[in-house]
């Protein structure tokens, strides 16, 4: 009883706070100083057409490194939670129909290609490593859908993940040595704005992030698929 009263009082207080914020706040008419700097200088300093990508990969590169680390820790935690209960396989899932398995074979290369398109064009169009990684994981998921007991190349996934993670850090250090700071993209040529080979190291970094995220998410889905049924 007291607990419910407490919850209602808490929510009402929060509601009043948010409502008063809504009534008193004034919409921005112009960009603050820092975002205005980013918007004006991205084209000449970084060479990327997508300002959000420039902010994520270069200006705020450390944040993204931390983000990738958090995702890695989450994937390891999920593997740890699920691996301790490894039991002999007693799953008998209903097999999929011919239509789904054939469509999967036809769609799988195209989905992976689309994921690669999303992360190699991260500096020109919306999207980037995280979205492209999710699309690639979708392709692997479709593989699992068509054949739930498919044997996955676990080693290959882990290999891709660790190689791309290490390369990401190495490129960051290269930026510190050859350029101006850690994760600086200007040690490769900036190229012409709006073309595929532009923005220095951003496409390379985003491709590595995409491969790493795709491998991690595929690993998570594979672990979830393998744990045996309960109850």
């Amino acid at each position: 009883m007291y607990k419910n009263m407490f919850i209602i009082v808490l929510l009402a207080g929060l509601g009043i706070l948010l409502g008063s914020f809504l009534l008193t706040h004034h919409a921005n008419k112009a960009l603050p100083e820092l975002p205005a700097y980013y918007a004006d200088k991205t084209a000449s300093e970084v060479g990327a057409a997508n300002v959000v990508t420039a902010v994520i990969v270069t200006y705020r590169g450390f944040d993204t490194l931390g983000e990738v680390t958090i995702l890695f820790v989450a994937a390891s935690l999920i593997a740890m939670f699920l691996k301790t209960s490894k039991a002999p396989k007693d799953r008998h899932p209903r097999p999929s129909s011919v239509i789904l398995s054939t469509a999967q074979k036809l769609l799988f290369p195209l989905i992976v290609l689309f994921g690669v398109y999303v992360f190699t064009n991260g500096h020109l169009t919306p999207g980037g490593g995280f979205q492209g990684g999710a699309v690639i994981a979708t392709g692997f998921l479709l593989l699992l859908m068509a054949n739930p007991q498919a044997e996955f190349k676990h080693g290959l996934l882990n290999f891709i993940e660790s190689i791309s993670g290490t390369s990401y850090v190495i490129i960051g250090i290269l930026g510190a040595i050859l350029g101006l700071g850690f994760l600086d993209n200007r040690f490769m040529s900036l190229g012409e704005l709006g073309t595929l080979f532009s923005a220095g190291a951003i496409p390379v970094i985003y491709s590595l992030i995409g491969l790493k995220v795709g491998a991690e998410l595929s690993n998570i889905l594979h672990h979830l698929n393998e744990v045996q049924n309960e109850a």
């Binding site: 919850i7 809504l22 918007a39 991205t42 057409a49 944040d63 020109l124």
Partner: protein, 123 residues
């Protein structure tokens, strides 16, 4: 009528989602439903941040033929909160995955999903 802008609608929707999600997370008994309420809370929070970065009459911060390359700071919306929200969404799915697998482990040890059955670490 001047309150009826895109930004304010986004803010109101986001605030209501935050309140609904918080209410659900505090009152539900089933662990899985608590996690569902948490994802709704997450969506509302992200919506509020993106709505705050919107400026009326401006376009998405991506340079192409329609924007030109001069005076960009007077044409673009704020890119920094968008980058922040992108990070937040990716971390959100990692957190949700960990919560779900933990709920699965809890269910396996106790065959129950009720939050009141797990009281050992309560203080």
């Amino acid at each position: 009528m001047e309150y009826l802008t895109l930004q304010n609608i986004g803010l109101v929707t986001g605030f209501l989602l935050i309140l609904i999600g918080l209410y659900g997370a505090l009152t539900q008994k089933n662990i899985l439903r608590i996690i569902v309420a948490f994802t709704i809370f997450d969506a509302g929070l992200n919506l509020v941040i993106v709505a705050l970065s919107y400026i009326k009459g401006r376009v998405a911060p991506i340079i192409d033929q329609t924007t030109g390359i001069t005076n960009l700071s007077e044409k673009f919306v704020d890119p920094v909160p968008q980058a922040l929200v992108l990070t937040s969404i990716v971390i959100g799915v990692g957190v949700t995955g960990v919560m779900l697998t933990f709920a699965l482990r809890m269910f396996k040890t106790r065959q129950s999903l009720d939050i009141n059955d797990f009281k050992e670490t309560k203080w």
